[in-house]
Amino acid sequence: MSYEIPIPKLEVLKEKPLDSVKLMEYLNTNGFNPIAVSVDNNLGKVLIYFDKPLTTTKSKKLLELVDDFVKKHLG
């Protein structure tokens, strides 16, 4: 099951590309264990893969975590 989360500020993203490894570590630290995390710095999106679908609450939490990570990275 994959979750696609868009990333704003595409022009800034090209200057400061996201690293999928650091996002994976951030999610692991906050209780998520995805199978894979793919960052597309060209189109501005993140794809996160899990072996099972997340609950609504967890999917919202995932969205918040990714948003928080991106804000910290891009400023």
Binding site: N33, P34, D40
Partner: protein, 367 residues
Amino acid sequence: MLFEYLDPTYIKMKLDNLDISLSSLRDAIRGADNRTLTDIYNIGNSIYSRLDVALGTRASESTLSALSGKFPSATALSDTLANPSTTVIGSALLGFDGTNWRRMRSDANGRLRINAEVVANPPNLDVALSTRASESTLSAIKAQTDKLTFDTANRLAIQNPPNLDVALSTRASESTLAGIKSQTDKLSFDANNRLAIQNPPNLDTALSTRASESTLSSFSGKFPSASALGDALGNPTTTVIGSALLGFDGTSWGRVAVRALDVVGSTGRALATVNFLTPSRMPYMVENINVGTTESSTSIAAPGAKILVLRNKGDVDILIGINASVPATNPMKVKARTIKVIPFSGVTAVYYKTATGSSTLDIEWYN
């Protein structure tokens, strides 16, 4: 002439009073010693000649009685005689020189002066006085004994000797030692005073039934001396031991399996091994990744991919970095419209970008 006559009756009456004959009277007067009046006269005359002063000038009964009262009654002399109540009598101490008696001399304090010509050694004075302790020796001893101190009860004060470094009360008491003795009394010994020891529970068989020195020596002889293992180790002369090969799976040990198959031209038993790159988990894939000139990446959960399959579905070469950013020089490429399979134990991140233009990438992995 006048005649006087005595009446015979009267004479007879008077004569009747003479109841003893004159000879008997004479003998009675003489007594047992047959003393005559002359003997008595002579004795009396002798006594009389000694009575040179009047008896009244001599000691009366009362005087002698008073004198007698000054002496206690006669008693047998003994060492334990009580202190008697008696008068004091002075005596002049004289010594006989063989011819004359001479007064014994004393000093002004009344102590008898003795100048013995010969003094016999008393029996217990059996060695010369010069062999006994001298004044200087005793003075030296006194100097030491003067150092002794005593408490108010005249008990000698003794300094604790160096090795008496703790109070006696802290040492084993009589009761403690008695307890120990009660235990040691239980020990028994054989005729050679060797302690008898009960076989402990785990010494459950006789020592003679265990391996002897010769047996172990013979056993040891079946192995060569220890030497450092190395590739150039010579062919050792040793016994042959069968061994069951076991392998540890992280939790327990299990038998390592073999398979019968063709080995160097004949059927043999080969150890069955699993290559560390053999996948053991569910394979995954991420499809249709847009690849542009800005580097992007895909992370793979631990333990990472063992076999990585990269499929470039576009018309532009994709530059690849494994577990790190795409190298600035000579990066690996997945050429356009090709598939690249990479055995790589532990791929946890794939970084990708294009030099120009864009492409599409599929990633498959087996772990």
